[in-house]
């Protein structure tokens, strides 16, 4: 697994930004200001060892961290329509896409992968915040639809990991429609009584928060992650309200009853494994109610 990160990434960095390497040896914690050596920071999963601040974690590092032995298989995502509106602001959307693809080596802002977690098969749909702020357009929607289909096919739980500012504005109304499309997608998983877990990472806002991301059976957030519908600046400027301390942070949402738990990055994998194994646990075989083959489970429930 690691040949890729060890070999390809440094080489890419050498090509793209040769000057950045020396600067990147030390990172300043944006919360407490401490300087942290890059290897220590990576070992700590980009959590500041001084103040516990969770910095954003690159999507591939996150997948590596979550799957057993860091091993997972990505699936190829269906090609979505490119630039459906022929959108152009100060730049063509197609040019922006080209640049981001060259810089990130990724096709769009979502990765769908499957593998084992605690020995159980799972499907993960993870956002790549480095790709246009993780914004959701057709390609991201197709990614979630594909992830849901794969989960149903593999009879596996689906874990969605949003990291997104919201809609891909350059796809206009089609980005808005992803709110409905992704809702249909995750509902298909839920209908099969497969666990649908959302791991809310920083940030989860706008149309992403107001659709699939808030529909998890269990909602887990990383400490300090910004989660909300309207942007803080929009609220401050249009409504002229003073924002309370910790507004829209994971802990605030926990306090307001909007999520189940806030979990340190170090504990995420173990927490996910535990939640999924509990949800999928069945009663010991002898206690199972044996249904006649033709009997609809709903009717059976009524007759009990």
């Amino acid at each position: 697994m690691n040949w890729l990160t060890n070999y390809v990434r440094p080489k890419l960095q050498a090509l793209v930004a040769p000057k950045e390497v020396p600067d990147n040896l030390w990172h300043k914690c944006p919360s407490c200001g401490h300087m942290i050596f890059h290897r220590d920071l990576d070992k700590a999963l980009r959590v500041c060892q001084h103040c516990g601040h969770h910095m954003r974690l690159p999507v591939k590092r996150r997948l590596e961290m979550l799957f057993d032995d860091g091993a997972y298989t990505r699936i190829e995502l269906p090609k979505a329509v490119e630039d459906p509106l022929k959108f152009r602001d100060q730049k063509r959307y197609t040019d922006r896409l080209k640049e981001t693809r060259a810089r990130t080596g990724e096709h769009d802002a979502i990765i769908v992968a499957h593998g084992k977690m605690g020995g159980m098969g799972v499907v993960v749909a993870a956002f790549n915040f480095d790709f246009q702020g993780g914004s959701m357009g057709m390609a991201v929607g197709e990614g979630l639809v594909a992830a849901a289909e794969l989960a149903v096919l593999q009879d596996a739980p689906l874990i969605a990991i949003p990291a997104s500012g919201g809609a891909r504005m350059q796809e206009g109304i089609l980005s808005l429609m992803q709110m409905a499309r992704t809702t249909v997608a995750v509902d298909r998983v839920k209908e099969k009584r497969l666990p649908y877990i959302v791991l809310l990472s920083d940030p989860t806002t706008g149309g992403v928060s107001a659709s699939f991301a808030m529909l998890g059976d269990v909602a887990i957030a990383e400490p300090g992650a910004v989660i909300g519908f309207a942007g803080a600046r929009v609220i401050e400027s249009t409504i002229r309200e003073k924002l309370p301390d910790g507004f829209q942070k994971a802990e605030y949402l926990l306090d307001k009853g909007m999520i189940d738990m806030v979990v340190h990055r170090r504990e995420l994998r173990a927490t996910l494994v535990r939640v999924i194994s509990l949800l999928r646990n069945r009663a010991p075989a002898g206690e199972l109610l044996v249904l006649p083959r033709e009997m609809n489970p709903e009717d059976a429930a009524r007759s009990v």
Binding site: F87, G172, M179, A180, V184, T205, I235, P244
Partner: protein
């Protein structure tokens, strides 16, 4: 009447007609002739202007303060309207109105964003910007309709969900998500009509329907042109360009396969002839409902979900 910038030449002519009418008192033949001549001119100008409204001009028409809002529409089309209130959880949000009623004979559950039509009612209805309790009420009413097998009709007219501290604290995102989900899961006919402004998540919360109708000059978008301009152009002055780029008009959205029917408006916009606007809307709504009535609940739900899944997959080249 509130005059939009691009309507000023029309308003001037209409002002002249009004003056002449006062002068003539109906008796003077010359004045009557002149009035008739001017009226033809007004019609011509209206027709020419409204035939080629730009997306930015349509945005102005869609937000016209005298445009029929949800309560006007309900008053015109729904008999025995019986408002139902509250989310059974926190409060009653008047930015979303809803209730039972009879539309051309059948019971319906109507749910709509209400912007208000004067200063006082605008405040009462929070300018049409709903909080979580509004979306939770919508969801409650949708589920009630589902329970009784009554079709759901939604009327979309909002700048967007309310961006405020209290709304966030009570779970605006979750409330919208559940409202979308409730709509997608209905086993009754569900028709949404964008009557004015279809703004972002606050709109799709009520619009994941079997059939989405749109008035001819309404708009529907992921973000307001002003918001889009300030983010992508870094200046609100580019709102006109953003309106073009966003493809937010009913005509563009029909071409993109996002909406199903464009409901014609009277010459010069719905606000110029409320009766005709409502008659057109009533006919289109009835046709849409008739196309869905009699279908099995499971089929209605499956088709609705399939329709959104397929959206954007083809026909956009």
């Amino acid at each position: 009447m509130h005059i939009l910038d691009f309507e000023k030449p029309i308003a001037e002519l209409e002002g002249k007609i009004e003056e002449l009418r006062h002068l003539g008192d109906g008796g003077d033949v010359n004045i009557a002739d002149e009035v008739g001549r001017l009226q033809v001119k007004v019609d011509k100008l209206l027709r020419a202007t409204y035939a080629k409204l730009t997306p930015w001009q349509k945005t102005q028409v869609a937000r016209h303060p005298e445009r029929p809002h949800s309560l006007d529409t309900i008053k015109a089309l729904i008999e025995e309207f019986t408002p139902l209130a509250g989310d059974r959880c926190f409060g009653e949000d008047r930015a979303i109105v809803g209730g039972l009623g009879r539309f051309r004979g059948r019971s319906v559950m109507v749910i709509g964003n209400e912007k208000g039509s004067d200063t006082e009612s605008r405040v009462t209805h929070n300018f049409g910007m709903a909080k979580p309790e509004g979306y939770r009420k919508a969801r409650r009413l949708m589920e009630m309709a589902d329970h009784f097998g009554i079709p759901v009709v939604t009327l979309i007219d909002t700048a967007g969900a309310y961006p405020g501290v209290d709304a966030e604290a009570r779970g605006q995102a979750e409330a919208i998500a559940r409202s979308i989900e409730a709509g997608l899961n209905l086993r009754v006919p569900f028709v949404a009509v964008v009557i004015g402004e279809g703004g972002s998540g606050g709109a799709i919360a009520l619009a994941a329907a079997n059939a989405v109708l749109m008035l001819e000059h309404a708009i529907y978008s992921v973000i307001s042109p002003e918001g889009c301009a300030s983010i992508l152009w870094r200046t609100g002055d580019a709102a006109k360009d953003a309106a073009e780029a966003l493809k937010l008009t009913a005509q563009d959205l029909q071409r993109l396969g996002i909406i199903d029917v464009v409901v014609p408006e009277p010459l010069g916009g719905a606000h110029r002839n409320l009766d005709l606007a409502m008659r057109n809307l009533g006919d289109a709504l009835e046709a849409a409902l008739k196309g869905l009535e009699g279908l099995d609940g499971g089929v209605l739900r499956a088709r609705r979900r399939e329709k959104f899944l397929e959206m954007g997959r083809q026909g956009l080249a």
